[in-house]
């Protein structure tokens, strides 16, 4: 879930929370009994779903793949929900306050093309070969070596990320509500462990759909009321211009996405359009949305190939709409948030908050809860807080259910107990779920005691995703790719990513080489590093494969483009056809970018 959140932002949330804790500031919101009832009912509901679905998770196919019975809508909503976490809701709102609508790039070009590519081009291969996981696909295509490397790195990173997410969320709850860190960590992780261990992937998916509805129900009211207060989109733009003219907010283009992308120094993010298009739009987003098993697992649970193709297309529409509840509140915060004396509230960076203790300053990342408190009366505030908790739990459930499947299918079964009864693997999956939660809790407390780790975890995650994209794409679309090519491509791509990261860490001025400009800033680094990494991965797969012997084409059936007969689906009415909705999604994507050009 954190895969697309820049390290700086997560560190910012953590610093922000830590600063507040150090200052012992009062919490931002005070819950009424009605709010507490709303939150409590949510927990009762998710546990009820877990117990209800326990009876439908008896075989490994049911437990790990939800019986492959999910409709396109359920798989699609779950696909998006597993990615829509609380840190994302709060972090990107803070970025929108700071950088304007540029932050929406992570939702549109940084997601939509990759989601559509997954659905229409890659999904047939994942689905037809009946793999249980992305490392499972690598095993079929490249053999055990590449699969084990990918499985271990994924399993390790998944539980670590889950722990980081858990800790960061607990700190946010401490800041916003004054809740005890241990209380937040234990209660939420117990709930997730219960419903995933009981009902498996089906339970995780059901809860993700429920959480998706709650996130919208709880967060949608803020931009609606905010727009009413600001006088609509036109009023918002006029007020931002007025505040810039007064010097109340820094000068910049807050409402256009591409106009300031001509040069690194023209925009506050320090990014060039090539970094956005090729780095974010290809290397990072394709890596995340098409090879991260956390999200791909949801689509693999679809009940037919057509549903599996439709799910990411359906998800893309909701992904396009997410900026309305994430980016817009950040922009509205620029003009509507006020101090107690009626003056415009200026949110600042965490370092400024830390440098002025007792001044009552708020950081960028608090814009979302500040907006919630501004508009939401009892009941609605509880709903908004429940949306944040639901976002956190859906992300964590996604992590542990994916960990459970990869551990059981790609590590335990091939390396530890190769032949056992199906019930045995289901039991291992249930225990792996609980183990995943326990390790996550351990990681959360590890981060609590050594907070610098959090930044490194973010970087670690990025090391594996882009090279994996290179290896998977070459394996899926080039029949000549060999076992050795896949293994070395994955390894060299990962080493490239680690090497570039270490180079900039040791010598920050190296950023000018990694991101191709002395004016590049930290955010540009991730994009160009991902681009270098996937490029090296592809080149190494190509070169090594050219020196090896390709597998016979009959062994590649179901795995590679050109060697696979894609099943022909039954004709359906236009409104159920995936290509029709693909065209609508592309038009919507282009329209949004043109509208906010």
């Amino acid at each position: 879930m954190l895969g697309l959140i820049p390290a700086l932002m997560v560190a910012g949330l953590r610093n922000s929370a830590a600063t507040f804790l150090a200052l012992s500031s009062p919490s931002l919101a005070h819950l009424s009994p009605l709010d507490i009832a709303v939150i409590a009912i949510y927990f009762v509901m998710v546990i009820w779903i877990g117990f209800y679905l326990k009876g439908q998770a008896n075989t490994s196919e049911e437990f790990f793949m939800a019986g492959r019975e999910m409709t396109a809508w359920i798989a699609g909503l779950s696909f998006v929900s597993a990615n829509l976490g609380s840190l994302e809701l709060m972090g990107w709102a803070g970025s929108a306050y700071q950088y304007g609508i540029l932050a929406a790039h992570w939702y549109w070009i940084g997601a939509i093309p990759a989601m559509l590519f997954l659905g229409m081009v890659m999904m047939p291969f994942y689905y037809v070969c009946k793999t249980h996981s992305v490392p499972g696909y690598l095993k079929l295509r490249y053999g055990q070596g590449a699969s084990v490397v990918a499985a271990f790195s994924f399993a390790f990173m998944t539980v670590l990320m889950s722990g980081v997410n858990m800790f960061a969320m607990a700190e946010v709850m401490k800041v916003v509500l004054g809740w005890d860190l241990n209380f937040s960590i234990i209660v939420s992780s117990l709930a997730v462990a219960a419903y995933v261990a009981l009902g498996g992937l089906r339970s995780a998916i059901f809860n993700e759909v429920l959480q998706f509805v709650l996130i919208w129900g709880g967060a949608l009211l803020v931009p609606i009321l905010g727009l009413i207060e600001a006088g609509g989109w036109t009023g918002l733009k006029a007020k931002i211009a007025h505040n810039i003219a007064n010097g109340a907010i820094p000068a910049g283009d807050y409402t256009h996405m591409w106009r300031s992308m001509g040069h690194f120094s023209d925009n506050p993010m320090g990014i060039h359009w090539t970094g956005i298009v090729f780095g974010l739009g290809f290397a990072i987003s394709f890596g995340y949305w098409t090879t991260d098993f956390l999200v791909v697992q949801r689509v693999l649970a679809a009940n037919s190939l057509r549903s599996a193709r439709m799910a990411p297309v359906i998800g893309s529409f909701f992904k396009m709409a997410v900026p309305f509840i994430v980016i817009l509140p950040g922009l509205l915060g620029l003009v509507v948030l006020q101090n107690a004396d009626g003056s415009l509230m200026k949110l600042v960076g965490e370092n400024v908050v830390a440098a002025h203790p007792g001044a009552g300053l708020h950081s960028y990342n608090e814009v979302q809860p500040l907006m919630l408190v501004r508009y939401c009366s009892p009941g609605l505030l509880g709903l908004g807080i429940t949306a944040l908790i639901a976002g956190f739990m859906s992300g964590m459930a996604g992590n542990v259910s994916a960990f459970s499947a990869v551990w059981t299918y790609d590590i335990y079964q091939p390396l530890i107990v190769k032949k056992a009864r199906d019930e045995h693997y289901v039991a291992v999956g249930r225990w792996a779920t609980i183990l995943g939660v326990v390790i996550s809790i351990g990681a959360a407390y590890l981060v609590m005691n050594a907070k610098g780790i959090m930044d490194y975890v973010q970087a670690l995650f990025s090391f594996f995703i882009s090279p994996l994209l290179g290896a998977v794409l070459m394996g899926m679309f080039w029949k000549r790719a060999t076992k050795a090519g896949g293994f070395w491509g994955l390894l060299m791509g990962t080493l490239t990513s680690i090497g570039l990261w270490a180079w900039v860490k040791i010598d920050p001025s190296a950023l000018r080489y990694v991101a191709i400009s002395p004016d590049a800033k930290d955010m540009a680094e991730n994009m160009y590093r991902a681009l270098w990494s996937v490029s090296v991965s592809v080149i190494v797969v190509f070169v090594v494969s050219m020196f090896g012997k390709a597998r016979p084409i009959e062994e590649l059936d179901g795995l590679v483009y050109g060697a696979t007969k894609i099943p022909v689906e039954e004709p359906v009415p236009l409104y159920k056809n995936e290509y029709f909705w693909l065209v609508i999604a592309i038009i919507g994507f282009l329209g949004l970018n043109i509208m906010f050009w």
Binding site: L34, A37, V38, I41, Y42, M45, W48, I49, Y52, Q56, E69, M70, T71, I74, F206, V209, L210, V213, L214, G217, L221, L225, I228, E229, V336, V373, R374, Y375, C376, S377, P378, G379, L380, L383
Partner: protein, 71 residues
């Protein structure tokens, strides 16, 4: 997922119905007593219409996907 088991949409319907009833009820209480919460745009009575929307959606999904309904 359909006739033999409870649909996820039913669970969503139940939750929206409960939340909608609670928030709508509170909104009516505010409207009748005039004791509005100290929030911006309280005059718009968001709990009334937002709660009503949630309640209506919840009832629709709860009834449309109730267990035992064959479709």
């Amino acid at each position: 997922m359909h006739s033999s088991s409870i649909s996820i949409w039913f669970f969503i319907g139940v939750l929206l119905t409960i939340y909608g009833a609670m928030i709508f009820g509170y909104g009516l209480f505010e409207l009748i007593t005039g004791h509005t919460a100290n929030v911006i745009l309280a005059n718009l009575h968001a709990p009334v219409w937002w709660g009503a929307i949630m309640l209506a959606l919840g009832l629709f999904y709860g009834l449309r996907f109730r267990p035992g309904r064959n479709d």
